[in-house]
């Protein structure tokens, strides 16, 4: 709760949350914002933006604006679904490895390092190639089970330092069971790491889903930003001058990515006060630094 309150006082976080909230609202209320259906021909092919079609039409005559709105649903669903899976696996394994130590730690750390050095996107491509046209759900599950390693690494190292603190020692003295200590003593102190991991994983999942679909490994009947890119590229949108077809999903992905990254940066600043600039803190450090000459 304190983290949330602090987030509301951070300008980067506010902009990031505003972007994310807009995308979520647009995804929920898509049917109210457009009169067309995302999977119906509603105009002539490759019409430039006009009052009828705010962002023009695709080569098949679909309305780009409508597909953008509905596509946000898939991008967000895959992002948050896979992000949650990645974070849960990473946090649980990280806390267990850091707290239990010994053989358990060795095994988890070994697995983690191994997953970290096998290049992620090529691995995903190989998996997706064998599976065939992967639905968004399948993509989310694959992402979840292949991308947790970074989370384990940071959670584990943070757990290692928390384990040495007095409140953990005293809980151990009181004879609390291990799972209770991990869940109620250690986990609450990791909340900013978990937050960064979660938002970062959502960002990663959104980008990777779009990339896999752009490369033609997704299900072409899905309405998502990645499939929009794929269809536009297949229709040679750039070389025939239909820039609206390909730039729309590009801008959408860039804006959503920026929003998520801003939130993450803000959490990092709140968790690590030295990184903060602006506002009260800048004045305070300014006072301190006055003796140091110009910095």
């Amino acid at each position: 709760m304190k983290l949330l309150a602090q987030l509301l006082h951070n300008r980067k976080a506010l902009v990031g949350v505003a972007i994310l909230a807009t995308v979520i609202l647009v995804a929920i209320f898509a049917p109210l914002l457009t009169e067309y259906s995302p999977t119906q021909r509603v105009g002539r092919p490759h019409q430039p933006p006009s009052a009828d079609h705010l962002l023009g039409t695709t080569r098949l005559g679909y309305d780009v604006f409508t597909r953008l709105l509905y596509g946000a649903r898939i991008s967000l669903a895959v992002g948050f679904g896979a992000g949650l899976l990645i974070t849960v696996i990473g946090t649980v394994l990280g806390i267990i490895a850091g707290y239990k130590g010994g053989v358990v730690d060795e095994v988890i750390t070994f697995l983690t390092n191994m997953v970290l050095v096998i290049p992620n996107l090529p691995l995903l491509l190989v998996l997706a190639a064998f599976i065939g046209q992967a639905s968004p759900l399948v993509i989310a599950v694959i992402l979840g089970f292949t991308s947790w390693a970074w989370g384990v690494r940071v959670t584990r190292s943070e757990t290692l330092s928390i384990r040495q603190r007095d409140f953990v020692k005293s809980a151990e003295m009181l004879g609390e069971p291990g799972w209770r200590i991990m869940a109620f003593e250690i986990f609450p102190n990791l909340i900013s790491i978990v937050g960064i991991n979660f938002i970062g994983s959502v960002l990663f999942a959104v980008i990777t889903e779009a990339t896999l679909e752009f490369l033609g490994l997704g299900d072409p009947n899905t309405v998502s930003w990645g499939i929009m890119l794929y269809n536009a590229q297949n229709a040679s949108a750039l070389s025939v001058g239909a820039w609206w077809d390909i730039l729309t999903p590009c801008v959408a992905l860039a804006v959503l990515g920026l929003g998520l990254a801003l939130i993450n940066f803000a959490i990092d600043e709140i968790a690590n006060p030295r990184l903060r600039t602006g506002g009260m803190l800048a004045r305070w450090t300014g006072l301190i630094r006055r003796g140091e000459g110009k910095l």
């Binding site: 090529p122 190639a129 033609g216 000459g293």
Partner: protein, 325 residues
């Protein structure tokens, strides 16, 4: 030395893990794995050639354990099978040619991005809270969060199609014969500019953010104050006291991000039709050329492991404590 030896053993294990994934994937999928793996060749494959391929990938009449060993044996003897699309071209030849382009592209882009990003990060941290810091931080966040596919497409649209300054694809003018002549090299540089620019844009932000945050964490340390107290110049303290120590975590971040670099280069190569590993893998996926797909994963993993080992070596040089460990 023990440190490096441990790393080498670990890298071998990681490579075997990648080979294991390759071994089990076709066997776990529904349907006949042999049919699936080599279907891309259609009827071009004679029975004799098919049997040779089956042997390479461990499809022999034996228990699964022996099949696995047979596959590992062919991997470690450097036999990755033959492409079914370009039969009988060996996978290693096909991918080896592509690897040169990717290493050139990724290597140069990483060095440029690392240099620019680190310098910007140092300067932003030194002037933290100023407008310079804000602009650099925001630009870095943006650069590190925008998907490589988006940057590639927008760069191609802007400089390739709209302005027409640079070519839209290929690594060199297809009319020229590869040679060490000036004309060919100039063509390679000209064609490589846009993919390079794309990758530098994608990579620089991450290096800058990491470096900035490391620096800021270090600037409060006592030895920084000491350096100032000694009357060293601002630049001296900034570069020799703070930046040098902040570089260490950045280098290990570089090792982790190498995988992402390969991923980013894959997409960029596809968009710019650049003949590197990523594009070869992509073309293989479109043609369902499974031997090439599997070989690409192995060679990319190996490239990643070698790069990681180089980073380990540089780590030993940067942090003398590791030499004794």
């Amino acid at each position: 030395m023990a440190f490096l030896l441990r790393r080498v053993v670990f890298y071998l294990a990681a490579f075997v893990a990648a080979a294991t994934i390759n071994f089990f994937l076709p066997r776990l999928m529904p349907g006949d794995p042999i049919q699936k793996m080599f279907a891309g060749a259609g009827s071009d494959l004679s029975l004799e050639n098919l049997n040779a391929l089956k042997l390479t990938f461990g499809f022999i009449d034996a228990p699964i354990g022996e099949q696995y060993l047979a596959y590992l044996r062919s991997v470690f003897t450097g036999d990755l099978g033959r492409s079914v699309r370009f039969f009988p071209l060996p996978v290693t030849d096909l991918l080896g040619r592509a690897l040169i382009w990717t290493v050139g592209l990724v290597g140069t882009a990483t060095i440029i991005a690392f240099t620019i990003g680190t310098l910007l990060g140092v300067m932003a941290a030194w002037r933290r809270g100023t407008r310079f810091d804000t602009v650099i931080s925001l630009a870095s966040i943006f650069s590190s969060s925008v998907p490589a596919v988006v940057v590639s497409l927008i760069t191609l649209f802007a400089f390739g199609y709209t302005l027409g300054w640079f070519p839209n694809g290929y690594a060199a003018d297809p009319m020229l014969d590869p040679s060490w002549g000036w004309e060919y090299i100039a063509s390679v540089l000209y064609h490589g500019t846009l993919p390079m620019l794309t990758m530098v844009i994608v990579l620089t932000g991450g290096f800058a953010v990491t470096m900035r945050n490391n620096m800021i964490n270090l600037l409060g340390e006592d030895y920084i104050v000491m350096g100032r107290a000694k009357g060293l110049s601002d630049q001296g303290v900034m570069l020799w006291y703070a930046a040098r120590n902040a570089l260490l975590p950045t280098v290990s971040a570089l090792a982790i991000s190498l995988g992402a670099v390969l991923g980013g280069s894959l997409v960029t190569e596809v968009v710019f039709n650049y003949p590197g590993m990523g594009n070869t893998l992509y073309q293989a996926i479109l043609a369902r050329d499974y031997p090439v797909i599997q070989g690409a994963l192995l060679i990319m993993t190996a490239a990643m492991l070698v790069a990681n080992f180089v980073v380990d070596l540089s780590y030993v040089l940067l942090d003398p404590r590791l030499k004794r460990a």
